[in-house]
């Protein structure tokens, strides 16, 4: 889907938003905006904790729709390979907020696919190690980098157990208004914070997943779709042994 098409769809969503979800085709539901979607004027609070449940059994082999959607939403597709760089190296180092991970059980040979991004830890190691305070956890549970303060030391990249963070190595010619980006800063998934702050309630990856593998919402609200799903199905934290209390949970891993 091109960027303009995607924008068009969001405008469409805004126009057709009702309190309930919008059905665009049998079986395909789009999550609607709250009736009064407006930019936030009050500070976020700890009443909400944003999180996700990802059903790895629904995540299809070879599908990368969430990755493409994230790249478009956050302008990652506008970051060009530096002149003279090695293609293979670029593929490994290019900024990416979400990755497809394939797991293979050596005993049974069973393959599991899952999307991996910042797990929005309640006790984030990236925040612990940051010498400047640039890596921080917002009151509503979103872990972000304040680029105004980040010095690009990349301690946080080393500390993150999930390899969730990317570094911007060179100047970026084109950037989106809602996702500023410049040479020498670290960045990672922010749960589409610009959408949430503008009154929307879905992330780009969730909207893009036609297999409905991603449920996003408020973990503190027992009635939210994500809380209800977490209550109903068994789920795990990746590297639960680290006791980070991640906001992103997985089932069928």
């Amino acid at each position: 889907m091109s960027r303009t098409e995607q924008q068009g769809r969001r405008v469409f969503l805004k126009k057709t938003a009702t309190a309930a979800a919008v059905a665009i085709a049998p079986g395909v539901m789009l999550h609607a905006l709250p009736a009064a979607a407006a930019p936030r004027v009050e500070a976020v609070s700890g009443k909400i904790r944003w999180g996700m449940l990802i059903d790895a059994s629904k995540c299809a082999d070879g599908c990368s729709d969430c990755v493409t959607a994230c790249d478009k939403e956050n302008g990652l597709d506008l970051v060009d390979m530096p002149a003279g760089a090695e293609e293979a190296l670029w593929e490994r180092q290019r900024p990416r907020w979400i990755r497809q991970v394939k797991l293979k059980d050596n005993l049974s040979g069973k393959i599991t696919n899952l999307p991996m991004m910042c797990q929005h830890c309640e006790k984030p190691p990236c925040v612990d190690v940051c010498p400047t305070g640039a890596s921080f956890r917002r009151a509503d549970g979103i872990v972000m980098v304040d680029r105004h303060i980040c010095i690009g030391c990349r301690y946080c990249m080393m500390a993150c157990p999930y390899k969730a963070r990317s570094f911007i190595h060179a100047e970026v010619a084109e950037k989106l208004t809602h996702t500023p980006r410049g040479k020498g800063c670290v960045e990672s998934c922010n749960l589409c914070v610009h959408r949430l702050d503008n009154g929307e309630s879905t992330t780009a990856c969730q909207d893009a997943c036609k297999h409905q593998a991603i449920v996003f919402g408020d973990l503190n609200d027992p009635e939210s779709a994500v809380s209800r799903a977490l209550k109903k199905y068994p789920s795990v934290q990746i590297r639960a042994d680290l006791k980070l209390n991640t906001g992103i949970r997985y089932s069928n891993v």
Binding site: R3, Q7, A38, P39, R40, V41, E42, A43, V44, F136, R138, A139, D140, M144, D146, R147, H148, E171, E174, K175, L176, T177, H178, P180, R181, G182, K183, C185, V193, H194, L196, D197, N198
Partner: protein, 127 residues
């Protein structure tokens, strides 16, 4: 701090000087009168206040936006760009940091480096 003050005063003075000087000579391909601001009486604050304090306003606002998620405030860099970017003859927005444009015009004149746009987009965002 004292140094900052004097730079501020110098900046403000220089901008006032610019404003009464001859029209913008470096407009390049941007067409005069095509910015939203060209059609408005006043900015979000009176013009002298904006001239002296615009960086204070957006510096406070950036912290509120990044750390508290407040995006509906009166002061915002995105708002500056949305309103002050001119268009060229084909209707395409000209970056506010292009030579002689709204931000660059004064910043070049007073040799105050303009770092916002090494990360921020200098043209209005797609709505």
């Amino acid at each position: 701090m004292i140094r900052n003050r004097s730079i501020m005063l110098f900046l403000a003075g220089a901008m006032l000087g610019l404003a009464i000087g001859p029209g913008n000579a470096f407009a390049g391909e941007a067409v005069e009168g095509t910015a939203k601001a060209d059609k408005l009486e006043q900015c979000v604050e009176p013009t002298p206040v904006m001239r002296r304090n615009h960086f204070e306003f957006i510096k406070h606002q950036r912290d509120l936006t990044v750390h508290q998620g407040i995006r509906g405030s009166k002061h915002s860099l995105a708002g500056c760009i949305d309103c002050h970017a001119r268009k060229d003859a084909s209707g395409k927005a000209v970056p506010v940091n292009a030579q002689g444009q709204f931000c660059a015009g004064c910043h070049e004149y007073v040799a105050a480096s303009l770092d916002c746009f090494s990360c921020h987009s200098a043209v209005p965002g797609e709505k």
